[in-house]
């Protein structure tokens, strides 16, 4: 009996020590993995002007409502938003981290030109947000945009890039294309603890391949 009691006391001490080590170790580790970044070759490819041409017939303008990206399991609502007075795009609220916004002063998805959709990479409310895995996308992955007229515009990813925010190439990202293209944009790279901002943006470039009802 004495042996059993001593054994229990020893076990309790071992559990307490193991618990202390485990909680200390966990407390000093990041709770989530850092958001995925595109591989370096992708950024180079985009910088050198990788383009994908679409021969599919463009669609008439219709407001996008939902986005579905099977490769990263994203299914999200799209809200139409414009520009702030300071010239930046109006973005989703951090209180709604699984909502995306479409820049409605530019083309709609499926129209000729470049449509832009923004989503958060993370949010204090939930941790990983709607575009947390955007950097995991690879050329060939499909993006489905449900439009207000019930058509679904289908896009194929052809490149990914990560740009420093201080040198964000707005002309490369938003420039007009003679065929319908899509940009999915979120934050990424290092996080500046001093300014509380990510230092980079991850951009997925996609080209329109057709529509279905």
């Amino acid at each position: 009996m004495r042996f059993l009691r001593n054994w229990l006391i020893g076990l309790s001490l071992a559990l307490i020590v193991a618990g202390a080590l485990s909680s200390y170790g966990g407390k000093n580790q990041l709770r989530w993995n850092a958001p995925a970044a595109p591989p370096a070759w992708e950024a180079r490819a985009t910088a050198h002007g990788t383009v994908a041409v679409s021969t599919a017939r463009p669609l008439a303008r219709s407001v996008p409502r939902f986005i579905w990206i099977p490769a990263i399991r994203v299914w999200a609502r799209i809200e139409a938003r414009g520009l702030r007075p300071n010239g930046t795009a109006v973005l989703p609220s951090l209180n709604h981290p699984f909502v995306t916004t479409w820049f409605d002063r530019g083309p709609a998805p499926g129209q000729r030109g470049t449509a832009a959709i923004f989503g958060h990479v993370d949010s204090y409310k939930v941790g990983p947000a709607v575009f947390y895995k955007l950097g995991v996308l690879r050329p060939g992955d499909l993006v489905y945009i449900t439009l207000d007229d019930q058509q679904v515009a289908i896009f194929r990813v052809y490149a990914l890039a990560m740009y420093q925010k201080s040198a964000f190439p707005t002309a490369v990202v938003y420039r007009y294309t003679q065929w319908p293209t899509l940009r999915l944009i979120t934050c990424g790279g290092l996080f500046d603890q001093r300014t509380h901002h990510y230092l980079s943006n991850v951009v997925a470039f996609a080209v329109y391949v057709g529509a279905r009802r």
Binding site: G26, D122, Y132
Partner: protein, 145 residues
Amino acid sequence: MTGVRPSGQVTPNPSAPGTATTFDVFCGRQAVSATLFGVTLGLADLNLMHSTATTAPGEFVLTVTLPASIAPGHYHPGFDCSNGNIGAVSFTVDPIPHKAPETGDGTTATQTGTPLTSVGYGLIGLGALTGAGAIAWRRRVAQRG
């Protein structure tokens, strides 16, 4: 001046800052050159337009990249033809976002405390309970003895 009314079109329309934009004008068959006035677009004052293998006689084109700083709005740049005709083309410049978007608050980059933390707290609790039980047991045995 000839009796032909000069005309023109812009592609794409609407265009956007930083976008390659083509101006295509028709001056009349007798014209051998044309000039686009670019000051209002933030371009050079006079921009010589060209005829190409695919343009008709008296038709001239010019492709320029609109300045990234051009303001959104409606533009009507004029053009001048060598046969004395003058005209203007109309097009719209749509806005584009000017700065990089802030799409995240760094939660995944900064927040610490993995499931290991919870497991650790659980082990500490379990150890404390086991220890307390063992000590109580020993006291009870000692009281009986």
